[in-house]
Amino acid sequence: MTKSSKKNHLNTNFQIFPFPLNVQYVIDWVMSPESGGIDVFIGTVRNQTKGKKVIRLEFEAYEPMAICEMEKIAAQAFKKWPVQKVLIHHRTGILQVGEVPVVIAVSAAHRAAAFDACRYIIDTLKQTVPIWKKEFFEDGEVWVGAHP
């Protein structure tokens, strides 16, 4: 359990882990007898970006603020759609191709809300949550999006 998980309520679960994410745990956590559908988004490390071969990625997080921003996104999701549980787990550290940087799961009585909220959460996370990705290529490395 991370320090930040103390802030979690019964229907939200936000965590940042330096080790592999457990998708089965995620699914078991968001399920409930009241839910009819769960949408799960799993980010995976792709072997290329804009045609250039990617060797590995490194993720760095400003952890307490990242958890705060995740809370804000989830609060918006609960306001916008009738969802039941929201989980966001993000990795830090070095990740190889095929590994999972992020898992987002949303349960709801009806699937439309789960789909809408899950997509909103990943789209917004990529804009607001203070986590940074460095791409390692055969000929160098770059912090993604840092320069125009």
Binding site: F59, K126, V129, W132, W143, V144, G145, A146
Partner: protein, 80 residues
Amino acid sequence: MKIKILAFGIAKDIFGSTSVNLEMANDSTVYNLKYLLEQQYPQLKQLASYMVAVNNEYALPGDSLHERDEIAIIPPVSGG
């Protein structure tokens, strides 16, 4: 007042450190801080953009800073 600024991602590379300490006037704002940092670290001006966070919240240029605030430089995020 003396303030400590945390750095992440490319800001850490620009500062050459995970944090820097600065001496600033007591009534300084986020705007004043950015100005001062850009004098000392001109590479900040080459970033696509960057934000300042105060106590885990994104701050506006007019927000004032206080001695015990947790201040951080937030270069363009790229999680997910």
